[in-house]
């Protein structure tokens, strides 16, 4: 593999940190403050796109800032998966910021500067995770992300927010310190190497028991991925304002968890090792499959829109883990592709939930009967978003699920095919009734419905952008597939 020594990855990470500083300094002038964010996002997006051609060519951008431990440094490496993830997070940062302006300003929410400040820091951390060249660097940004999102989760500062925040930290910090950190240190002690390496870092003949223990510690240690039983933080984090749930708890934070697991499975264990050690692959697949089905079933029972979305997210994250666990080329490509596809679908749904709340204060599905007639734009966006998450054409979710299903047939774990299909049916079962009720059911509370009107443009425009994204990803999935395929080819044996 050809590598290019370049400082650009560091610049990309720093742009949003600089934006955060400017936000903190210019907090008194909201318009200036938010223009800084848009400028930073645009610069960031431009820099990311400038890396794309070489990365798709199979080249890697590398930069080591400094050594932290013998043979392990604060180092960055941009490959196809990392670049794709960074692109998704940053491109969705723009509509989310527009939405935040529309959502927070009319409600006269307090501490907006703090909100935008920590939001920018969180984006920096997520991109830092995407660009990490080794497990230690990844861990540093992983923790930075947990800490920087805590003030966002507790933004309302009422009892619920404090409780949700407490749960958030207990799960995320607790598992990362108690499981992921020792697992990482044991890997370092065994191999002296934490770089993500094609083929893994373990020497031949490492005891399977040790590998199994480490694997389980990593899977549960990166609890941002929401594998059961360490998933309860995500529904708890739904106390956060809608834009936070949308970008962080449907895209950046949860995908960072899954991303970390992908990195560990492909770069630390190695796809070879997974494919050739049945117990490892089976553990990943079984844990993910259980979460997939159980989370979808729980989602069916939730009346609160955001918690139904949260359980849906937990299930969809396990699609990605299951895809990598299959240890086949199309499985890994499908898993990688599911990151952007699910991101666009789920962010649309969360933004819609925020828009519904803003328009009429409804938080529960039982409150939105007949709302479709009053909020046609919002509910249409919701419909497109749910198609994308279910995996129906003409939306991007169809493409990634297609590759995942292919991957399950190529692998030794063919039962995964049935799991994927069952779960997709369940997805349809918990999303489509919402749309149906909104458009066709008799209103339960006509008085409220009369007062409802479509929310302001700053709220609706982002919905349009992201739902259009869902559809465009179906027709232009080829470009994204190149990213996913470059990554899968790099890490699977030829």
């Amino acid at each position: 593999m050809e590598t290019i020594h370049s400082f650009t990855p560091v610049w990309i990470i720093l742009t949003s940190s600089v934006a955060a500083l400017l936000v903190a300094l210019l907090g008194r002038w909201p318009n200036v403050r938010e223009s800084c964010i848009f400028a930073a996002a645009a610069i960031k997006l431009g820099l990311l796109l400038s890396l794309a051609p070489a990365v798709l060519d199979g080249k890697l951008y590398e930069f080591e800032v400094m050594e932290l431990l013998p043979n392990v440094g604060l180092a960055f490496r941009v490959d196809a998966l990392g670049l794709m993830f960074a692109l998704v997070s940053v491109s969705l940062w723009i509509p989310t910021t527009i939405f935040s302006m529309g959502f927070l300003r009319p409600l006269k929410r307090h501490a907006q500067t703090r909100f935008f400040f920590f939001f920018a820091i969180a984006i920096s951390s997520a991109v830092g995770v995407a660009f990490s060249a080794n497990l230690l660097t990844l861990f540093i940004f992983y923790e930075a992300l947990s800490l920087s999102t805590y003030p966002l989760v507790t933004h309302h500062q009422d009892d619920d927010a404090i409780k949700g925040g407490r749960k958030y930290l207990t799960y995320l910090l607790g598992t990362s310190i108690a499981l992921a950190l020792p697992a990482m240190i044991i890997v370092y002690q065994q191999t002296g190497n934490l770089d993500f390496t094609n083929g893994g870092v373990f020497a031949d003949g490492t005891s399977t028991t040790l590998l199994v223990v480490l694997l389980v510690m990593f899977l549960f240690g990166f609890a941002k991925a929401g594998l059961m039983p360490f998933h309860a933080w995500l529904p708890g984090a739904m106390v956060a304002p809608a834009p936070v749930s949308a970008l962080l708890h449907a895209v950046a934070v949860v995908k960072v968890g899954v991303f970390s697991i992908i990195r560990v499975l492909t770069g630390i264990f190695g796809v070879d090792l997974l494919a050739n050690t049945p117990s490892l692959s089976t553990i990943v697949c079984v844990l993910a499959a259980i979460t997939l089905i159980v989370a979808s079933l729980i989602a069916l029972t939730q009346d609160n829109i955001k918690s139904r979305l949260a359980y849906s997210t937990i299930g969809q994250l396990s699609y990605i883990i299951l895809g990598v666990g299959l240890a086949t080329k199309s499985g890994i490509a499908g898993a990688a592709l599911h990151i952007p596809m699910h991101a666009f679908g789920k962010i649309t749904l969360f933004l819609c939930a925020g828009a519904i709340y803003q328009a009429c204060g409804a938080k529960c599905i039982s409150e939105i009967h007949g709302l479709g007639r009053k909020l046609p734009l919002t509910m249409t966006a919701f419909f497109i978003g749910s198609l994308c998450v279910i995996g129906l054409p003409p939306t991007g979710g169809f493409v990634s699920k297609w590759y995942l299903l292919n991957g399950s047939l190529d692998s030794a774990q063919q039962w995964a095919f049935a799991v994927f299909l069952t779960s997709s049916l369940l997805n349809a079962a918990y999303f489509l009734p919402i749309v149906y009720k909104a458009f066709f059911a008799t209103p339960t509370d006509p008085a409220r419905l009369d007062k409802t009107k479509e929310p302001p443009p700053l709220t609706v425009v982002p919905l349009f952008i992201t739902s259009a994204g869902c559809v465009l990803l179906f027709f232009f999935s080829g470009k994204l597939f190149q990213f996913a395929n470059t990554f899968a080819e790099m890490y699977t044996p030829q």
Partner: protein, 509 residues
């Protein structure tokens, strides 16, 4: 001039102490600047010596020119007088002690003016004398001389603690009993070593001991080792000799706690490391497995029990004292793992923990200075009143939890790596538990101090006026907190250039 640097390290604070007490009679205002000046000289000398040691290896200095003498029939030249040594093992700690003392001396002025009005000069004299003792323990190359400095440090700290209010006398008395016992045990152990080797010089003792052990005369040396070890453990408040510490530090004047908590226990840990690594040899440690597993179990217990008690505390100062106790467990455990990462971790952590504890007590001192007390319930809204102080506090707590890239993360990394290599899983579990407990406490404080008050920016809520600590306190606090991050990023460099060379060559990688 450079050959005089080692003695200048001690002379700075010693002369500072004497002059502060003396000029206090006719010019009370001079005491503080004189102490600061003495410490600044000492710090500069210590800093210069780090570079010299990193380049040229250990620097030895013979007091009064009473140097080495070649005795017929002995391989090593025999040292007649008192030797002081700056080598890879203690050079970083010398910088840490003198640097923290310098910053703390600047920091304490406002605190002392309010807490100990009228008695400032005694405080500064004792402060400087304490630092003299601590630097002396660290720099000396003579095990009896170490005892002398140990007493200088101990006597001045008893007096410093007794300056506090309320139950401070009782706390100081308890400390005095325990501290005196520790010093006696240490001295008794030195007696055994002297009886067998006929010398007190560390270089000479370590050259003679292996031959004695090989010829089967290990009984007396073993007793001596155990006595010295127990003495050091009592001095550092290692479980189960820890009872005196929380009260002593919580009731001491805030300014006194700010210098005692970071340094006194760390220097005692250094004493243990010095005895383990250079006086006796690391093979000796490995071949006395009874003590090794005992020490490791006690370390884990120390961490677990201190963590448990820290959860139940309602007073910030006492809470911090329990943190000190659990950190002691880290270092003792790391040293007794007796492998490369374990010892590296212990040595890094001695410096890192000195800095972390110092930053912690400085931040608490700022809070106490403004709020007048340090009960957790009194912290409501403190994040709005003192945002800068609390930012430093959060960084410090992050270092104590072990959040990268602060120094606490890297020392803990080495410790866990060492424990994993030795297969001591209970120590790994204890370390992780302690991190989690500290995380809980940090967020408990954030909840009380930030989330539990109506946000002042919302219309209709009462405004919370800013009331930041004075700059002379704030700047050292912030500098120390930033230092934790710098130290973390520099860990790799320090380990490669200095600490790796302090490890005994006999260790397995």
């Amino acid at each position: 001039m450079t050959e005089q640097l080692p003695i200048i390290i001690i002379l700075g604070p010693l002369l500072g102490a004497v002059l502060a007490a003396f000029t206090g009679w006719f010019r009370p205002r001079l005491s503080h600047p004189l102490v600061v000046l003495g410490l600044a000289i000492s710090f500069a000398a210590a800093l210069k010596l780090v570079f010299i040691v990193a380049d040229a290896g250990a620097q030895k200095y013979w007091l009064g020119g009473w140097g080495e003498k070649v005795v017929p029939g002995q391989k090593e030249p025999f040292v007649v007088g008192i030797q002081i040594t700056v080598d890879y093992l203690n050079t970083l700690l010398l910088v840490a002690v003198s640097g923290i003392a310098l910053l703390t001396s600047v920091y304490t002025r406002r605190l002392v003016d309010t807490e100990l009005a009228g008695r400032q000069r005694y405080f500064y004299a004792l402060f400087s004398l304490l630092v003299t003792g601590l630097l002396g323990i660290t720099i000396t190359g003579d095990i009896f001389n170490l005892y002398v400095f140990m007493e200088i440090a101990a006597l001045s700290s008893y007096a410093l603690i007794a300056y506090g209010r309320g139950r401070a006398y009782m706390a100081a008395f308890n400390y005095l009993i325990m501290g005196t016992m520790g010093a006696c045990l240490y001295l008794l152990g030195v007696g055994f070593v002297f009886a067998k080797t006929g010398t007190l010089n560390i270089d000479n003792v370590s050259a003679i001991i292996p031959a004695l052990l090989n010829s089967g005369q290990s009984q007396a040396l073993f007793v001596g080792f155990v006595l010295i070890l127990l003495g050091a453990w009592a001095k550092m408040a290692f479980f189960p000799f820890h009872g005196w510490l929380p009260n002593a530090y919580a009731h001491a004047p805030t300014a006194g706690a700010a210098i005692l908590a970071p340094l006194a226990t760390k220097v005692a840990v250094y004493t243990m490391l010095r005895i383990m690594v250079t006086v006796y040899s690391i093979e000796y440690i490995i071949h006395s497995p009874g003590i090794q597993s005992l020490a490791l179990y006690l370390s884990s217990l120390a961490i677990v029990i201190a963590s448990f008690f820290s959860l139940t505390q309602t007073n910030l100062k006492k809470l911090a004292s329990y943190f000190v106790l659990s950190e002691i467990g880290y270092m003792v455990g790391g040293a007794w793992l007796a492998n490369k990462p374990g010892l590296t971790g212990a040595m890094v952590h001695v410096v890192a923990d000195a800095a972390m504890t110092s930053a912690l007590f400085m931040a608490i001192g700022c809070i106490v200075y403004r709020l007048g007390q340090a009960q957790l319930d009194d912290l409501k809204g403190v994040f709005f009143k003192m945002p800068v102080t609390m930012a430093a506090f959060v960084v410090t707590m992050a270092a104590l939890i072990g959040v990268p890239p602060t120094c606490g993360f890297f020392s803990k990394w080495y410790l866990i790596q060492g424990a994993a290599q030795a297969g001591v899983w209970h120590f790994v579990a204890a370390l992780l538990l302690s991190s989690l407990v500290k995380a809980i406490i940090l967020f408990r404080i954030i909840e009380i101090g930030y989330n539990r008050v109506p946000h002042p920016a919302i219309e209709g809520n009462p405004a919370i006026p800013r009331n930041e600590a004075p700059l002379s306190m704030l700047i050292p606090t912030v500098a120390m907190a930033l230092g934790l991050i710098a130290l973390g990023l520099g860990t790799s460099t320090l380990v490669n250039t200095i600490i790796a060379k302090a490890l005994p060559a006999a260790l397995a990688p």
